[in-house]
């Protein structure tokens, strides 16, 4: 393998509660301001807490006035533009000067406010105006907005690792550059404050009704916030060659999974220690080199206790010279955006010689007393650290270092961002309406359709394909899955098939979701709508988070290392395979379990009906697919993922994307066609007209990440080379090339 590339930061952008730009937010943070104020975005009269840190959307010239974009999109576009502008990559028409920059982005709730309104209308049996809401709801829609309004047309990774995802997204962006799969990446996170999330944290009694006091003996909860932040990361050689101003280096990234509990960290913070140590190791420094640490510091009793314990363990006596602050007291906890916003604030501390002060904390925990940054403090350091912990046990740490003047010089030309990825298949598993296991995927016939009553029309039912839950009883009675949604049972079963009896120490997990834990999200918010905010269920809310099923799976498998949850559609399956290949490349992990999973709820069916897909023959389905992957070798099946997904929003863009995606595929390669039952159907037919065709696999319905996996498994069962096209409805078009063992 070639030498890893050094990663530099050349641009930063932010839209946060204290300001719509990096400079404005920084000035007010240094002055010790807080953005805490009564919530005005939605009604909170039934909640214990009624305050949060709301962002003001900055003016966004050049956006069409008529199109109502999700609040999340507006925040993301503002921060993305600022980052590209600082990097000198934004042209005068407010689009990127080059369109081939991939995006690695984080969120937890996407455009949830639109989803809430869609459910409200549905429960009121009001069908008008629902399509518009649907169009802005899922995270991949905001990713499309970002690409459209920043003028980018390359692939997007959407990381949904709960509250650490902002740091994970940046870490992933850095890995793409370090391992020379890209020379420039736009990376960060966005989050818009939304009623579902607010009520969820409120019912868990995690919100302080007083103020947010990180690391205080009397801390009693967090303050929610919102915002977005982005970094432009570049290969150092490429950045210097184009004469970019280098702000700093991203020198270390570490991530790990805490298996202790779905919502509570291990009291000793062991997973955070592991993440910090991995980041320091990659940066090639010892803890003593870190001068400032931007802490997660949510101000919940559990989090700050575990975090302080982790700092004591990781820094030992060096803790006495470290300066620490949690900016959540001022900006609130912006969930998917937090890791990105805080990375920017850590970089500013490195550049400006002063850090954001710790406000609100009057009676600090003895372990950290004297370490908290005060207003006006100066600090000189060459390295800073930013850490995040999240629901589901996600932990991430980023190290930023001053860019040295002594650049070691070029060692090879920067990689193009079109490199392909390859993995070897070691195990397979599936749960589908056809039953359990991979053999039944290739059976003949069509599983029986089931009728599901419509939520918006009592006289109507929808036909769908369901998984028979009776075969999954052993997972239902698993202690970790007691409160879990069916999607977690599907994943546990598919994973167990793929892994067999093999214990896999150091196993990495990448899970891909379209709608994720939709059953519980619908149930949780229906209670809020129909009974009131005070009826919100604390047992359901944590299970609605994208990465909860992934976290359950990690706990069941004892996998405490690398673990990502991705949001998307069919393309998320391809993205998951790319990430597996990336992790396997330098032995970061030796085995990766990739799982695609979906569960079906009446609300999905409303959405598909409202999109007019059912008229085309679209049948909704559910289940999971799993692949256990290792480094590619000729003695086993190999999957090559040729290039990044091509973005598309309109039929014209999709046709162009499909043409580029299949341009270099040999005409004689049998292609597993899917007969798309969405607006992509004519584009599929057209794009694949000239290619050989695999016998049509049995149709098990559409379950996005899960059915993309079934098709891959169906092709693997044919024992001949094949191509599996992936049709991301609003995410991108991609393909997998499958090569059988050479034997």
């Amino acid at each position: 393998m070639s030498m890893p590339s050094r990663v530099v930061v050349t641009g930063m952008g932010m839209a946060a509660p204290l300001g719509g730009s990096v400079a404005e937010c920084w000035t007010r943070l240094l002055a010790g301001e807080t953005a805490r104020a009564p919530v005005t975005l939605f009604d909170v009269s039934g909640c214990r807490c009624r305050e949060a840190a709301q962002a003001e959307i900055p003016a966004l010239p050049g956006l069409p006035a008529k199109r109502s974009l999700a609040r999340a999109s507006l925040l993301a576009i503002a921060a993305g533009r600022e980052a590209l502008a600082q990097a000198g990559l934004l042209s005068s028409n407010l689009r990127a000067v080059r369109s081939d920059i991939p995006i690695s982005v984080a969120t937890t709730a996407g455009g949830m406010a639109f989803g809430e309104e869609f459910l409200r209308k549905t429960l009121r049996q009001e069908k008008r105006g629902r399509l518009r809401l649907l169009d802005g709801y899922q995270p991949q829609r905001q990713a499309l907005d970002l690409r459209e309004f920043l003028g980018l047309d390359h692939g997007t990774t959407i990381l949904a690792n709960a509250c650490s995802s902002g740091a994970n997204a940046i870490g992933h962006g850095a890995e793409l550059i370090r391992k020379r799969h890209a020379d420039c990446v736009l990376t960060g996170g966005f989050e818009a404050l939304t009623e579902l999330t607010f009520v969820g944290f409120d019912c868990l009694q995690a919100l302080s009704t007083r103020d947010c006091r990180p690391f205080d003996v009397h801390r009693d909860g967090l303050m929610l916030g919102e915002g977005a932040a982005f970094l432009v990361l570049e290969n150092e050689e490429a950045a210097r060659e184009r004469g970019a101003r280098i702000l700093c280096r991203l020198s270390g990234y570490g991530h790990s999974t805490d298996l202790h509990h779905l919502t509570q960290p291990d009291p000793q913070g062991t997973a955070l220690v592991a993440a910090m140590q991995a980041a320091l190791k990659q940066a090639g420094i010892t803890p003593s080199a870190i001068g400032y640490l931007n802490a997660h510091g949510t101000a919940t009793p559990m989090n700050d206790g575990a975090e302080t314990a982790a700092y004591a363990a990781a820094f030992g006596p060096e803790l006495s010279t470290l300066r620490v602050s949690s900016t959540k007291a001022a900006l609130g906890h912006s969930l998917g955006a937090a890791g990105a916003i805080e990375a920017v604030l850590a970089i500013l501390a490195l550049q400006e010689g002063q850090a954001a002060p710790q406000i609100n904390t009057r009676d600090p925990l003895p372990e950290i007393e004297g370490r908290l940054v005060q207003i006006g403090d100066r600090l000189e350091t060459s390295h800073v650290l930013s850490v995040n912990l999240g629901f589901g046990g996600s932990n991430a740490a980023l190290v930023f270092a001053r860019a040295e003047a002594d650049f070691p010089g070029r060692n090879r030309a920067p990689a193009a961002s079109e490199a392909s990825y390859e993995v070897g298949v070691l195990g397979m598993g599936a749960v589908s309406p056809a039953g359990l296991g991979i053999e039944v995927l290739s059976g003949s016939g069509h599983p029986a359709l089931q009728e599901i009553p419509s939520l918006s029309d009592p006289a109507k039912t929808f036909s769908a394909l369901r998984v028979d839950l009776s075969g999954l009883a052993r997972w239902k009675s698993h202690p970790r899955l007691r409160r879990a949604s069916p999607i977690a049972f599907f994943m546990a079963e598919a994973a167990a098939q793929a892994l067999g009896e093999n214990a896999e120490p150091g196993l990495g997990i990448v899970a891909a979701y379209g709608t994720g834990s939709i059953c519980y999200s619908r149930r949780f918010f229906s209670d809020v709508i129909e009974k009131g905010q005070s009826f919100a269920s604390p047992a359901l809310f944590p299970e609605t988070v994208y990465n909860s099923p992934t976290s359950h799976l990690a706990e069941i498998l004892g996998a405490s290392g690398a673990c990502y949850s991705l949001a998307g559609d069919e393309s998320a399956w391809a993205e998951a395979l790319r990430i597996a290949a990336l992790w396997l490349e330098d032995g970061e992990v030796t085995r990766v379990l990739v799982v695609g999973a979906e569960e079906l709820d009446a609300i999905n069916l409303e959405a598909y009906w409202c999109s007019h897909w059912m008229k085309r023959g679209f049948i909704a389905s559910e289940g999971a697919s799993a692949l256990l992957l290792g480094r590619p070798d000729k003695s086993r099946w190999r999957i090559r993922i040729p290039a990044r997904s091509r973005a598309c929003r309109t039929p014209k863009e999709a046709a162009a994307a499909a043409q580029r995606c299949f341009a270099d595929l040999p005409r004689e390669t049998p292609v597993l066609r899917t007969a798309q039952h969405t607006w992509l159907e004519p584009i599929e037919t057209d794009a694949l007209r000239e290619f050989a065709r695999c016998p049509p696999p049995s149709y098990l319905g559409e379950a996005f990440a899960a059915s993309a996996g079934w098709r891959t498994l169906q092709a693997l069962a044919r024992k001949q080379p094949a191509c599996v096209p992936l049709w991301g409805l609003n995410h991108g078009i991609s393909r997998l090339d499958l090569f059988p063992p050479a034997d």
Partner: protein
């Protein structure tokens, strides 16, 4: 108001905490929390507090009190009966 029965509390805990155990295995003195008992956690405690408030109109606001009241279904029943008898 009719007296709170053990059976209705059993149903309340099984439903709210999504327990997979047969209801007959739950006794009045089975600990709700910890591995020796039903293995409930802090999220279940919040869920039960909410369910008790919504079903019986008696909020358990103080976490200290919640810990005492939610030791077992027996202690919960005793507390609920006391609330009823002292209600105005």
């Amino acid at each position: 108001m009719p007296a709170v029965t053990f059976d209705e509390l059993k149903e309340l805990v099984v439903k709210n905490c999504m327990l997979q155990v047969p209801p007959e295995t739950i006794r009045e003195d089975t600990p709700l929390f910890g591995l020796e008992g039903l293995g409930l956690d802090s999220i279940d405690a919040l869920q039960l507090t909410l369910a008790v408030e919504k079903s019986y109109g008696t909020p358990i606001r103080d976490p200290q009190l919640a810990r005492q009241v939610l030791q077992s279904l027996g202690s919960l029943r005793e507390w609920l009966l006391r609330q009823e008898s002292t209600a105005p």
